[in-house]
Symmetry: C2
Subunit: 237 residues, 2 copies
DNA sequence: AACTTTAGTGTCTATTGGTCACTTATGGGT
DNA sequence: ACCCATAAGTGACCAATAGACACTAAAGTT
């Protein structure tokens, strides 16, 4: 049998495969704390529980995995997040009551302001403060996925300025430092923090300033490739 | 309808989902070069081409994703590799002629000696030098997956001693440095290399030595958690 | 014993983060 | 207007760790 004949006769349903979904751990910073986006499950299993935005791939509509998650996120927030990264894939026969199930899970960041309006109308989605997660019983293994995302983001905070994507397009250095401090879980030296960013020339001075209490802070924006930059030495520790 | 009824009525085949497989990029060091394990595809599509070890999940036999890849690797090499790590998941509608397909891809390392015998008898598996990959037309997007694994391993070489898993249980520091040099692609200062490993106390002196030309080199073995250790500062650059 | 080869060390320099006091810019209260 | 509180931003020195490279050490070979 040649390949053309094989493909013609091929029936994907003959193969007994696992369920396959995508999920996203979308973080933002609001009121000095990290928050994660949760949605209320409208269907079985775990109906009524809160879980991560995500779901099955639509093999007609989605052309790749990232497409699929972004579609799911847009449904809830109205916009695509400025940062998204594959986190991990979890697959086993116990995480979903329906059977062997695999999720490809992403972490994403967005500024609170950039999607606030969009889902003020959607009552089945909410931002949840990370420290209050243990009070909620989450669907599937989503608590574990959030913890994984959290951990990954903490690492990124040590050697990159990826956390900047949790802020609006223009932000001040003290604001950025604050995001890093929340993620790393301890205060940082402003001098060290600023020095490395300046040296690597990662930000653009917009010329604008923001006043809030004391001396006005300069507003910066990210350069195009700044999210990919990796400092050779970690902060903290 | 309650959850029990839903689950009872649930039919996974009603859902039109993607194909789902696992693959592994297994590297080793042999004759001073990095090699990757390839297997000859015995079935369609891309029958006869070389590709990564891997395949569909067996939802009866495998209890999770890692189980599944390790099973695939054991089939080819006879042993489970001492190091395995999730690399990435790639899913789209163009990588497999059969339709929308997702692979969860792992990187793994093993000592050449530890599986040489096992698959000397298997003629459909071979180690291929990385620089000769462009001469072979690989199945699916496997060339890209290998490049991804290569890149990840290079990063690991900069801030960890994970590459040690490409060596036998006992190895010398010059040997380890050599693996790192191959991965990073340039020579390293032996003093710097040794100093950081000694300082972090990552290896155990076995008391044995290896003679080869000049002064004998001390044989070390890894401590248990040494693969997880991350230096705060990168080598090279 | 002298030479070659490879392992391993001593020591100085370079880079970058840590610390912390100091200066600067703004608003508010007297 | 002046002083103070507050937050932004800098100067200067210290600490940790990688880079460079010459030197010593231990083996085999001639």
């Amino acid at each position: 049998m040649d390949e053309a004949a094989y493909l013609k006769a091929y029936n994907p349903k003959a193969y007994d495969g696992p369920l396959m979904s995508v999920d996203a751990v979308l973080f933002t910073l609001h009121e000095e704390t990290l928050k994660v986006l949760l949605v209320k499950r409208s269907s079985h299993p775990d109906r009524g529980k809160w879980g991560l935005p995500g779901g099955f791939i639509d093999i007609k509509a989605d052309s790749d995995l990232e497409d699929a998650v972004i579609r799911k996120l847009k449904e809830k927030t109205g916009v695509a997040p400025p940062y998204i990264e594959q986190l991990a894939s979890i697959g086993n026969n116990s995480r979903d009551k329906r059977g062997w199930s695999v999720t490809v899970c992403y972490t994403a960041l967005i500024a609170y302001q950039d999607c606030e309006v969009s889902f003020a109308t959607v009552s089945d989605a909410q931002w949840v403060v990370l420290s209050e997660l243990d009070k909620i019983s989450l669907a599937f293994d989503h608590a574990q996925l959030i913890e994984l995302g959290r951990e990954r983001l903490k690492q990124k905070a040590l050697y990159s300025i990826v956390p900047a994507y949790a802020l609006p397009g223009k932000f001040t250095l003290p604001e950025l430092q604050h995001v890093h401090e929340v993620l790393i879980g301890k205060p940082l030296q402003k001098k060290s923090f600023r020095r490395r960013i300046e040296l690597a020339e990662l930000l653009i001075d917009t010329g604008e300033q923001r006043r809030e209490g004391g001396r006005p802070a300069t507003l910066y924006k990210m350069k195009n490739k700044s999210g990919d930059y990796r400092f050779v030495r970690n902060l903290g520790e």
